[in-house]
Symmetry: C2
Subunit: 211 residues, 2 copies
DNA sequence: TGTACATCAGTGAACGCGCGTTCACTGATGTAC
DNA sequence: TGTACATCAGTGAACGCGCGTTCACTGATGTAC
């Protein structure tokens, strides 16, 4: 049978591959359902069912609801951070060759994330609430936000250099401010779209990066 | 008996006054417990008990858990907004007479809110999550955030005038950006205090308001 | 390649517990005369 | 001021339901020879 898939070397998955696939499906389902209903509101039966499995499967892969959630923070957030960092880096790089305004691209990014990726912001809020209520998990979230700033900082530093930004803020502080502003505008746009015009983020950034 | 209270005209509360006092106590308890455990995690028994009443009292004053929460958004958030607007207005007014930097005062405000008022940010996150999951309640939250911007806008506009700010942002947009940044830095400081220095907000503001 | 057995990757019914909601009841406050 | 009755502001035990967790079971996959 000629497969339409380009990559996979063999059609039949080994037991270990199938197990990992199930695990990923369960985590993806958990992200969907928890984004919609919240950590407490999401039932394991709905999560498992939404992935096409029974609740027992969850207990085969995770020790319980709490560990499932922590795993979701670890893997799901990491993937999102990677995506964001890559997208921002690409915007600045392509902008430096074509001469496009990278801030406009970032602003479009806010709009797109607020309007299309409806799960992202609720999940982040859910993670944050979990952290402030479970001191033992705080370290995981702290590490995640630092990872994001770590990934973005060189890009921001390069941009500050390129625009000859004269700022009282260090590159790391500038990165923190940009991320905080980004998340905040995404959230705000969800409850008051008219208060956050498409290009607002771009205008704030161009002022922050001004020489 | 000589009362230590200055204001109340009579010691014995009328039935209606006592009822309103109970209602306020229940709402305050709901704010405490929900901030700690979340909307789903907070049990009505714990809320009522924490206020010194039984669960039945909650059903005498509210139709159910959901309406209690909506009432909390309405009254609790309003009080917080009023406090914030008043504090900010006072900072700018006193600054214009004494010559102090109002931005430094605002920055201290962030620090204080993040470090001492531990309930505020979790409650806001809880409200926001409720809104994105219950479209019928979205209007209440939208109105609240607009009320805050409405209250702050004249103060920000006056500050922009005073500092001769030349900005691509309208006063209302500047207000939105300041509020978003404020909330975001408060939240961020909870999970990564070293990433948000005491005076970071001040330095960002002085750049945003620069001429 | 074939056979026998062991392990794996789940299934799904059952259990127990906690929580939101209801309701019959009660002492305290207010009202009519 | 006193009395009789009605309403108010809660009480707290009971109910029912949903959810997290457990566990005996099962077909499919892997392994040894």
């Amino acid at each position: 049978v000629s497969s339409t898939d380009p990559d996979p070397p063999r059609q039949r998955l080994s037991q270990a591959e199938a197990r990992e696939r199930t695990r990923r499906q369960l985590l993806a389902a958990a992200a969907r359902v928890i984004a919609q209903k919240g950590y407490s509101g999401a039932s394991l039966e709905e999560i498992a069912g939404s992935a096409g499995y029974s609740t027992g499967a969850l207990y085969y892969h995770f020790t319980g609801k709490e560990q499932l959630f922590l795993e979701l923070i670890e893997t799901g957030w990491s993937r999102n951070i990677t995506n964001r960092v890559d997208a921002v880096a690409e915007l600045f790089e392509s902008g430096s060759t074509t001469g496009d305004d990278p801030f406009a691209g970032l602003s479009r990014f806010v709009v797109q994330l607020a309007d299309r990726e409806r799960e992202f912001a609720p999940l982040e809020a859910e993670f944050w609430l979990y952290a402030v209520r479970h001191p033992e998990a705080m370290g995981v979230i702290t590490r995640k936000v630092q990872e994001e700033v770590d990934g973005l900082e060189p890009v921001i530093a390069a941009a500050m250099e390129r625009f000859a930004t004269s700022s009282e803020l260090s590159p790391r502080e500038m990165t923190t401010v940009a991320v905080v502003l980004f998340d905040g505008l995404v959230r705000r746009r969800r409850i008051d779209p008219s208060g956050v015009p498409d290009d607002l983020f771009a205008r704030v950034l161009s002022r922050l990066f001004a020489r």
